[in-house]
Amino acid sequence: MTAPITADPEAVPPEARPAVRELHDQLERVWSDGPGLRGWLMSTDHKSLGKRYVITAFVFFLLGGLEAAVIRAQLARPENGLIGPDLYNQLFTMHGTTMMFLFAVPVMTAMSLYLVPLMIGSRDLAFPRLNAYGYYVYLLGGLFLYTSFFLNVGPDAGWFAYTPLSGPAYGVGKRVDVWAQTITFTEIAGIIAAIELIVTIFKQRAPGMSLNRMPLFVWSALVMAFMILFAMPWVAVDSQFLAMDRLIGTHFFNQAEGGDALLWQHLFWFFGHPEVYIIFIPALGFVSTIIATFTRREIFGYPAMVLSLVATGFLGFGLWVHHMFATNIPQMGESFFTAASAMIAIPTGVQFFCWIATIWGGRPRFATPFLFILGFFAVFIIGGLSGVMIASVPFDLQVHDTFFIVAHLHYVLLGGGVFPLFAAFYYWFPKFTGRRLSERLGRWNFTLFFIGVNLTFFPMHLLGLHGMPRRVYTYLAGTGWGSLNLLATIGAVTIFVSVVIFLVNVARTLANGELAGDDPWGSSSTLEWATSSPPPSYNFAHLPVVEGRYPLWSRPQEPPVVTGLRTDQRELLITTVLDARPDHRHRTPDPTIWPLLAALTTGITFVALVFTPWAIVIGGALAIGPLVAWGWGKPQPGDPVVTEGVE
């Protein structure tokens, strides 16, 4: 009898249909979220939470975009009186904080949390309850920041919050405290996502998916997760230091009592630079996946690609000082960081050349995801080249903290993050929802976005070279910056229109879009396309067995599968780290409300921590109940129970 990967009765011969249907019903009973609101709140399914995570992050993207729109409107002409410096400072701080902490990193981890278990052929993440907790902590952090913003407690010291401006003496009120605690929320969520991904990727790959057969996206998610694990604690601790300076009078950053304003910058950028690669590396994974599908050939140079990803991950930690060239650090140190910053161009270059070779050797198909990938090439290369330029200390001292840097970072982050992300949205939307986004609107979306991004940010290079500093709420008419700024604002309007088109596309597709089928692109290579769209709660009726890097290409008919996992309770197959040989079966916990409640107590703790240090004690006490209940759990019928002396 054929054991199917999908439990789609249509896909099997008629005589096998009742058995498949029965299997589907059984697995659905065990794995689906419960009914109604209760089931929704208790869900621990990586797909339900992953979707919420992506949508939440995208909503923050829209909010951050609106803030950027107001900023651009204010700067459209010299001496504009639309908003004053106070609101402007809050807006650009909110824009930076939102985009970096609430959108870019979360959306990348969210996509990974959704896709990785499907791509490696597993039923769920390693710690589903922890995943739910991480999502809710992130959500609460974002809500906290925006509630504060509407209450006029929006942070106003920049997303980088340099001391002493953000310190107790100059950061008046509770605005910076809100920022510091928001950071802690999102860092906790990020670290949790990282641990989920690392463990899931190491231990839950389908049998046969040895490390050298892992899809490149999974590799990039793994590298991203390790970077998060080692980078995010820096800013979490740094922001807690700042909060303590402000709340209980510590002197971490008070020069007069032996503290150091530069300590803040070192700790911040030791996180802040890897942060950029945390955003960029999963995007590289999107690019590799999408290029393989739309050229219908293997990515050229798989080992070089993997080594480049890992090298980028390592080098990413050696660059932080290039954000601090203007702070009078010894020249020897500067030279080292210049060299390291330039060297990171090599692994990136390797990947680009391999992709171009892949496209050359393949047969490109110009669907919307591939268009966005082409856009990624053009935009990111400009950002990468200006990045090599500012690795040079003398040149950086001219353009540091000017609009040249604004241009550079938006070229890098939009080119290296958002273009691949849009490609990924278009590519995986059918998998998420079962419906395919309109290609016609997609092409409009792409064209306007591409034009808008270049129109907005290219002039900023010139503005920076001609002396316009960043973070200025206005500028005088005599500076000559007016017309380029107006051009940039027109570009911003174009981006706005293109994002609206995307939203329209999504809304129309959800209402009555074309049904996608399991594999709408026809040439996908990774395992998520082996199951139905959207995937069932249990992902695969039988877990697949992998025999190559591109499992759907190597044996599309009658793929080998795993049998023998229990279907009457949630069970995962755990495999070995290197070769993915089946090792043991793991009983994974059922849905529960406790992660949500534990997240709420965490939220209460951090919000209260803005006002009183006793919040730690209060929050700790509140958290004990949910945490114990979370871990305790009742064994279900069929679970083994140990009694005295029994082995």
Partner: protein, 209 residues
């Protein structure tokens, strides 16, 4: 029973049957072990960053600890180190008991560890006083407190984990996976005590040399 033997080849070529695989294992074979390692990495980074801050601000002082601040007293911190050194063999014994599925053994082990963790927390209170400075005195005080307090959060968390696990083992129902949890808790214990040894050398010993 080797892993190889338990995987049988099912009907389809290449397909495999995993029903014979065990459902409880220990150590690096389990995902909780890896999860624990992940949290150890994140918390270890936190401690490292506090230590980095401590060393960084040291450059701003001509004498360390600064003038008028006495050296931290050694008594409490040394007792802590000795206490931890004693606790490690106990946890190693508990870990072996867990791997034998010896319910009596792990009950004794986890109750002892709860006691140890509580003792660590109490001694930590005296260690903080032994710093002879306040967090708001100067950057020395702030960073020294940061290092010791950051490690204290590990102790407090471990106390609650040990207590909860002990309660679970006593009240039940005990599942086989809980033995694996006890084993992971022992792993975390080694990390926690090892980390303190380094931080003890940093905060209590290094200002003396």
């Amino acid at each position: 029973m080797s892993e190889r033997e338990s995987v049988r080849v099912a009907g389809e070529p290449g397909s495999i049957d995993v029903s014979g695989l065990p459902s409880t294992t220990f150590g690096h074979r389990t995902i909780t072990w890896w999860g624990t390692i992940g949290f150890m990495a994140a918390e270890g980074m936190t401690l490292i960053i506090c230590a980095v801050a401590y060393l960084y601000v040291q450059r701003n002082f001509q004498v360390w600890p600064p003038r008028e601040t006495p050296l931290p007293s050694l008594t409490a911190a040394t007792i802590q180190v000795l206490l931890m050194a004693v606790s490690v063999p106990v946890m190693m014994w508990t870990s072996r008991a867990a791997r034998r599925f010896d319910l009596g053994g792990v009950r004794v082990g986890m109750l002892t560890s709860t006691g140890f963790a509580l003792a660590f927390c109490v001694v930590r209170w005296f260690e903080l006083h032994a710093l002879h400075t306040r967090w708001d005195s100067n950057a020395y005080g702030s960073t020294a407190w940061a290092v010791v307090f950051a490690h204290a959060t590990l102790l407090i968390a471990q106390f609650f984990e040990s207590a909860a696990l002990s309660a679970l083992l006593l009240v039940g129902p005990v599942e086989p996976k809980h033995f694996s949890d006890v084993d992971d808790s022992c792993l975390y214990w080694y990390f926690m005590t090892g980390a303190w040894l380094v931080l003890y050398l940093l905060v209590f010993i290094s200002p003396r040399v």
